[in-house]
Structure formats: structure tokens, C-alpha cells
């Protein structure tokens, strides 16, 4: 599949998912292109996290089709899950260095940690950090070498006002450079954001 500017990076065709005999969502059809920012909204338990896990290939039990135009998605994917994905025994810097080695990311760790406001906390074991600070260790990867697809689960939780603005700027700059950003949150980055709402088993593209 050749990837020109306007062909869809991600195509969902009547995607449906069931859990514990309950239809989470069904009939989800959409196309996402490089450079777009998608906001996924819905009540707790509406299946937002499950949808993201389907997109990144963690969850395989669904009906319908989920197609990426990128042959080896995982090399171009930056996924921040529902859990921060860091170990409490390790310090912020150790966690970040391991995440970069695992995901093949490079970049200046210190400036990334500073961007998320963790300057001075680099070698504090994560166990002593607050929940918000733990999440921000994972977020620091957004400031490292760029990937073409960002899938972020609730990036804005436990982020203070200053953090929200810098995160908005970061998402917008990444989208500007052609990254497809898909995130779940109640916060809207800006007017250009395309929205997908999950409610009552239905999924519809709002804008």
C-alpha cells in the first residue's frame, strides 16, 4: 500500500467488540490520516482503553477490520497505556532509558524530563513520586525522537495547568510534522481535533 499524503494511515471497518457478554461498541468505521489528531471520548467503561488496545494490536478479539497502512506498525508506534508503564524500583531516568532502549528511541533524556517538569527528580526512585509524576515519566518519551503514530491513553490525567499547555503544544507540533495522534481524554487540544465518541455500544465520528 503506498502511503501518499491523503491515503488513510488507519482504516476501521465496522469494528465491534464485546466484553463480559456486553457490546462495548459496534459498527465503528473511520479513516485516520497522517498529521491528524483524534480525540476519543466516552464514559468510563465505554471501551476507550479496549479500542486503543485493539489499534496497537494488544487486543485481538474483535469483529470487523482494523487496518494500518504501515507495514511494521510497531516500529513507528509510540503507545502510552492506561498504566504509566514504569517500575517503581527504578528512578525516572532509569525508567526512561529502558523505555528508549526497548522502543528504539533516542534523544536527550534530561531535556525530555525537564519538558515534563521532572527536573531534579531524575534519580528519585519512582516509588517516591506522585501518581501524576509517574505518568509524566512515560510522557517524557513524547519529547524524544518522533514516531509516525502516537496512541496515548489518558495523557492529560494528573497534569497541572502548565503541563496541559506544553502537552498541547507538543501534540500540535508532532501532528504538524505528520504524526497521527490518537488520544483519549475529555480535554480538547484545539479546534482542528477530530472527535470519536463511544456511548451505549455505539461509536460515531463527531467531527
Amino acid at each position: 500500500m503506498t502511503e501518499t499524503a491523503n491515503t488513510a494511515l488507519l482504516t476501521l471497518a465496522s469494528l465491534a467488540c464485546e466484553r463480559d457478554d456486553r457490546v462495548l461498541f459496534s459498527g465503528l468505521t473511520m479513516q485516520a490520516r497522517a498529521g491528524e489528531i483524534w480525540q476519543i471520548t466516552g464514559a468510563n467503561g465505554a471501551g476507550k482503553t479496549t479500542l486503543l488496545r485493539i489499534l496497537v494490536g494488544l487486543h485481538g478479539f474483535y469483529e470487523g477490520r482494523c487496518q494500518w497502512a504501515i507495514p511494521r506498525l510497531q516500529e513507528e508506534l509510540l503507545y502510552l497505556g492506561h498504566q504509566p508503564g514504569i517500575r517503581e524500583e527504578l528512578s525516572a531516568e532509569e525508567n526512561l532509558r529502558f523505555a528508549c532502549a526497548l522502543n528504539g528511541q533516542a534523544g536527550d533524556l534530561m531535556s525530555a524530563l525537564q519538558a515534563v517538569g521532572l527536573r531534579g527528580f531524575e534519580d528519585v526512585p519512582a516509588a517516591h513520586l506522585s501518581a501524576g509524576q509517574k505518568r509524566r515519566i512515560a510522557l517524557a518519551r513524547l519529547w524524544l525522537s518522533r514516531k509516525r503514530v502516537w496512541v496515548l491513553d489518558e495523557p492529560y490525567t494528573a497534569i497541572d495547568q502548565h503541563g496541559v499547555e506544553s502537552l498541547d503544544a507538543c501534540l500540535q507540533s508532532a501532528a504538524g510534522q505528520g504524526t497521527l495522534v490518537i488520544y483519549t481524554s475529555h480535554h480538547r487540544v484545539d479546534g482542528r481535533v477530530r472527535r470519536l465518541h463511544l456511548a451505549g455500544g455505539q461509536a460515531e465520528v463527531v467531527s
Binding site: D20, D21, F61
Partner: protein, 252 residues
């Protein structure tokens, strides 16, 4: 042309709905045939086969012991294969089969152990002897229990089936290794293993009933698997139209 039929066959084989229709047609005549074959084999072995010149009549337990052992072993191997198909090719029908094959396999393993022990008492004086065959069968029972326990521990039916499938795949390799390691450990501790008296010198008059009761056991196994598979299909496809329609009509 050939490739198209294989492809269509593969898809049909893979679709639970087709299997449900196929089993609805097959079960009504397969069940009586299975029962008749089984009973004929057993009665022939019990009443008409000649007594063994050494063991007398206690050897007649063979007509349930050997079929049960072979059914248990083949059942686990079948589960391993279904597991591979489910894990590697993600075929829904294979997942359903894993769940359907396990229970009767465990039942046959238990039967094999009990009948083996009851046969051992009059022949060698003890119910349990840790000889190679019986120990392998005991370990096979543990592995069946492992697969069933894993399946019941996981809530999502597809994930449970696939996890059990992977375990069954690993288990099949283990069955082979256990067979040889148990035989080796017997030579280590007891000198020569005690060969089952009479099995090697089985004369035709004893062999035919054994083959028939074995065939009967396998046919019963097939019936049991089909019935369980149908239940699993209904449970998994409850949301699809054809199940709703079938249930509403209260059809067989």
C-alpha cells in the same frame, strides 16, 4: 478448481454455523451407531471371547481399559492440534473444539486408571504399582486437569480457549517425554519393567472384540465432543441472527 474447493472447505470447516448444521444432521444416526458398536464390543469381549490361559477371566477388563487409554491419549493429542490451529491460525472452530474435547478425555483417563488398578489387583496382587503405563496415564490426567482448570480460570471465552490451546500444545510434547522418562526410571529402580501379561500373545478371538470396543469408544467420544461443541457454539454466537432464530423456533 481444486484450490477453490479446499478454500471453501476450510472456511466452511471453520465456521461454527456450518458445523452446527452438519452436527444436527449427523448426530441422530451417529449416536445409535456409537452405542451399538460400543455395547457389541464390550459384550463380545465379556461373554464370548475365550478366557486367557494364564489370567483366566480377569483379563476381560482389557475391553474397557485399552479403549479408554487410547481415547484419552488421542483426545489430548487432538486437543494439542486444535490448540495449534487456534493459536497459530486463530480459527474459531478450533477454539470451540479445545473446550469440547477436554471433559470426556479426562473421564476416559480416570476410567483407564480405575480399570487398570482393578485389573492389577487380581493379576499382580496390588492396585497400584507405578509401572510405566499407569504412571504415564496418571500424569496425563494431571495435564487434562491443568487444561480444564486454566480454561475455567479465564473469563473471556476466546482467551481461555487460546490459553488452554497453548498449554495443550506444550502438553503434547510433554506426553512423549514423560512416556520415556517414566520407563527409564523404572529400569533404574526395579530392574526390568513388568510387561502386561497376555497383551503380546493376544490371539485373534480376543483381538476383534477389542477393536470393536475401541471403535465404539471413539465414536462415543465423537458424539460427546459434538454435543459439547454445539453448546459452546450457541453460547459464543448468541448475538448472531441464526442463533436467535434457531432458539426462538426451539429447533433441535
Amino acid at each position: 478448481m481444486l484450490w477453490k474447493t479446499i478454500k471453501r472447505g476450510y472456511h466452511q470447516l471453520g465456521s461454527p454455523r456450518y458445523f452446527y448444521r452438519f452436527s444436527s444432521a449427523v448426530l441422530p444416526w451417529l449416536t445409535p451407531i456409537a452405542l451399538i458398536t460400543f455395547v457389541v464390543g464390550i459384550v463380545w469381549g465379556l461373554a464370548f471371547a475365550p478366557p486367557d490361559y494364564q489370567q483366566g477371566n480377569s483379563y476381560r477388563i482389557i475391553y474397557i481399559h485399552v479403549p479408554a487409554s487410547s481415547g484419552a491419549l488421542m483426545g489430548y493429542v487432538a486437543m494439542g492440534i486444535a490448540g495449534m490451529v487456534a493459536v497459530v491460525w486463530r480459527m474459531k472452530m478450533a477454539e470451540i473444539m479445545i473446550k469440547a474435547i477436554a471433559p470426556f478425555g479426562a473421564a476416559l483417563t480416570a476410567i483407564s486408571l480405575v480399570t487398570g488398578a482393578l485389573w492389577g489387583k487380581p493379576t499382580w496382587g496390588t492396585y497400584w504399582q507405578w509401572d510405566a503405563r499407569m504412571t504415564s496415564m496418571l500424569i496425563l490426567l494431571f495435564m487434562y486437569i491443568g487444561v480444564i482448570a486454566l480454561q475455567n480460570a479465564i473469563r473471556d471465552p476466546r482467551q481461555a480457549a487460546r490459553a488452554a490451546g497453548l498449554l495443550a500444545m506444550v502438553g503434547v510434547i510433554n506426553v512423549v517425554i514423560v512416556k520415556y522418562s517414566v520407563e527409564w526410571v523404572n529400569t533404574l529402580h526395579q530392574g526390568s519393567t513388568l510387561k502386561l501379561v497376555g497383551e503380546s500373545t493376544i490371539n485373534p478371538a480376543m483381538k476383534y472384540p477389542l477393536l470393536i470396543s475401541m471403535l465404539g469408544t471413539w465414536l462415543l467420544y465423537a458424539v460427546n465432543v459434538m454435543v459439547r461443541a454445539r453448546t459452546e457454539i450457541l453460547s459464543r454466537e448468541r448475538r448472531s441472527g441464526w442463533v436467535k432464530q434457531l432458539v426462538a423456533a426451539g429447533g433441535r
